[in-house]
């Protein structure tokens, strides 16, 4: 028995060496300053082949109705996987969606998805984009038929899952292998927090950090820079988008949206659920002087957040420390 298992171990390790001579093993790594993730790949074992397939599907424009739009069209890596310069998402047939595309990273820590928290699992979150007439405008049957008849997909499914069988579950699970692996935790802020050698805040950044902790962190809480709650920050007296109440049916949730992460905020303009602001200055001026007394306005904001010019500059300096260039430029996540 012992001999057998040793032999097996030997056989296995030998095999692995053969399959991946120099290819880097795809891993899901949890930064030291992050808590345990919600999604842990338990029912979706991470593999190089599964990740590669998910990435290919993510960048595959032929999945959409007019073959012009992929996930990557709206979720662009250089914009931390949001859609640069688009107030609201831009899909097939030049259709404009109703909400600003959220960035995609650290999704493995999210319990709910979308601005209103309507979607509850990372694996099922692409479904709305696939079927929405204004996003990719197609359906899963069509996608399955396309993949079954298009090389090299059957082969890629075989490499990832051991069979050329293609179904919605395998498509969604492989896409999740890609999206859940997107972790952004190597910003200057992270390195300072982890006390990595030689890295410290400049004095404006430090002043900004202290202001941020005092005025913003109650909602934009570290390490994700969101507490994942739904709130109104007083953008409109009466919101045109129901927001959270569309999901809960509760009037006190009307006009509330998920507190967005501020990681990589330098690259994710425009801002807010409808993309109404293009710059940090507009956002900070909103908190300083533009907060409207909407019915469900968060109590913390009833007097706005008064900020003078110096304070604004300091907060801006701090927000830029949340940029993770290693993430934005990581070729592992790029279309190849």
């Amino acid at each position: 028995m012992l001999f057998l298992s040793i032999a097996l171990m030997y056989a296995c390790s030998k095999n692995e060496d053969e399959v991946t001579p120099e290819e880097k093993k795809i891993t899901f790594s949890v930064p030291a300053n992050f808590p345990a993730p919600v999604y842990n790949f338990e029912d979706n074992k991470l593999s190089n082949a599964g990740f590669a397939l998910g990435k290919k599907l993510f960048y595959e424009a032929r999945l959409s109705a007019d073959k012009s739009v992929s996930c990557g069209s709206c979720h662009q890596q250089f914009a931390a996987f949001t859609q640069l310069d688009h107030k609201v998402s831009h899909g097939v047939n030049n259709c404009q969606g109703k909400r600003n595309t959220p960035p995609l990273f650290n999704l493995a820590w999210q319990k709910a998805f979308f601005w209103d928290g309507g979607v509850k699992n990372i694996e099922t979150s692409p479904l709305n984009a696939i079927t929405d007439a204004c996003e990719m405008g197609t359906d899963i049957q069509t996608i399955i038929a396309f993949l079954k008849n298009t090389a090299p997909y059957p082969e890629l499914f075989k490499q990832a899952y051991g069979s050329t069988e293609i179904n919605s579950q395998l498509i969604l699970k492989s896409i999740a292998q890609f999206t859940a692996v997107l972790v952004s935790g190597n910003s200057k802020y992270d390195k300072v927090m982890r006390k990595e050698s030689g890295i410290s805040f400049t004095s404006p950044e430090l002043a900004g950090y202290n202001l941020f902790k005092e005025k913003c962190a109650s909602c934009h809480a570290a390490p994700f820079f969101t507490d994942f709650s739904y709130r109104s920050n007083g953008l409109d007296l009466v919101s045109t988008d129901e927001g959270r109440s569309h999901i809960t049916g509760v009037a006190s949730d009307f006009g509330k949206f998920r507190v967005p992460t501020l990681r990589n905020i330098e690259y994710t303009s425009p801002y807010m659920h409808d993309g109404r602001f293009y710059s940090f200055d507009e956002v900070l001026e909103h908190y300083n002087s533009g907060v409207k007394a909407s019915t469900n306005l968060d109590v913390q904001l009833k007097n706005g957040i008064p900020l003078n010019t110096t304070e604004k500059e300091q907060i801006k300096a701090f927000l830029k420390t949340l940029t993770d260039n290693e993430f934005i430029k990581n070729t592992l996540y790029s279309e190849s």
Partner: protein
């Protein structure tokens, strides 16, 4: 009967050999077999015919049905002694447009006489929020909401002259699992003890249920299509779920 006893007698030593600790009683309980359930879709006693036949709701309003689909899940059987058996992974989508879907087969059920059956009309809480699923729960079946995770438990689409929606349509998509608009309902029915569901290695019984699509619109609250012609989750879906909770299914008979 005789035959099955011989068969069991034959089987016993084999099972005993493989698991030495078990006594004969347990061996009998360990045998497994199959039964089936047929769901006969009707509307107030008439057969359900999609697209063409006109029916009346409890308010006397005419309507036609184009789509009628529903989930039956977590099927649980009970014996007279109170022991129960929950059939694992029992998720079924019955679709009136697919005749093969109206007869479901349940395999590997411990043999015995069952005197009660219960099941969820819809899908349990956990699966509504789970990752990508296959089979009956595959989103490909058009019973999964993509903007508000969760399954449509019962889907009825049709038309009524009374509906003020564009095209006089009726859109009843019932689902949602969180309070106050939780629409998960459990249906349970006792089985006549004189003719229980006899699951035997040598007999595969069939249960026959009548499913009344009109039950969505009557019961606790009679629905008028003039005022309620579309619901996709929310408070109005709860009204419909409360209606069909008791009226949708009726056990007609069992072929043992």
């Amino acid at each position: 009967m005789k035959l099955s006893q011989y068969f069991l007698a034959l089987l016993c030593p084999i099972i005993l050999l493989s698991s030495c600790k078990k006594n004969t009683d347990e061996v009998v309980a360990d045998t497994k077999s199959t039964f089936s359930i047929e769901f006969e879709n009707q509307v107030n006693g008439s057969p359900l015919v999609l697209n063409t036949t006109t029916y009346k709701n409890a308010k006397g309003e005419d309507f036609k049905i184009n789509v009628f689909k529903y989930y039956v899940s977590n099927i649980k059987l009970s014996k007279a002694d109170g022991t129960t058996y929950l059939i694992p992974e029992s998720y079924f989508l019955i679709d009136a447009s697919k005749s093969e879907s109206t007869n479901i087969t349940l395999k590997d059920v411990p043999t015995g006489d069952y005197t009660k059956i219960e099941y969820t009309i819809g899908v349990d809480y956990a699966r509504n929020f789970a990752g990508a699923q296959t089979g009956a729960l595959d989103p490909i079946n058009g019973m999964f909401w993509t903007w508000n995770s969760g399954y449509i438990f019962v889907k009825l689409e049709g038309t009524s002259p009374q509906s003020i929606a564009a095209g006089n349509t009726l859109t009843f998509h019932i689902g949602g699992v969180t309070d106050p608009n939780n629409t998960i309902r459990t249906f349970a029915t006792e089985i006549n003890a004189a003719n229980p569901l006899r699951v035997r290695t040598d007999s595969k019984p069939n249960m026959h249920f009548i499913v009344n699509a009109a039950a969505l619109f009557t019961g606790k609250t009679d629905v008028s299509f003039a005022t309620l012609n579309i619901t996709m989750g929310g408070a109005n879906s709860v009204i419909v779920a409360n209606n069909y909770a008791n009226g949708l299914f009726r056990l007609d008979h069992i072929h043992n």
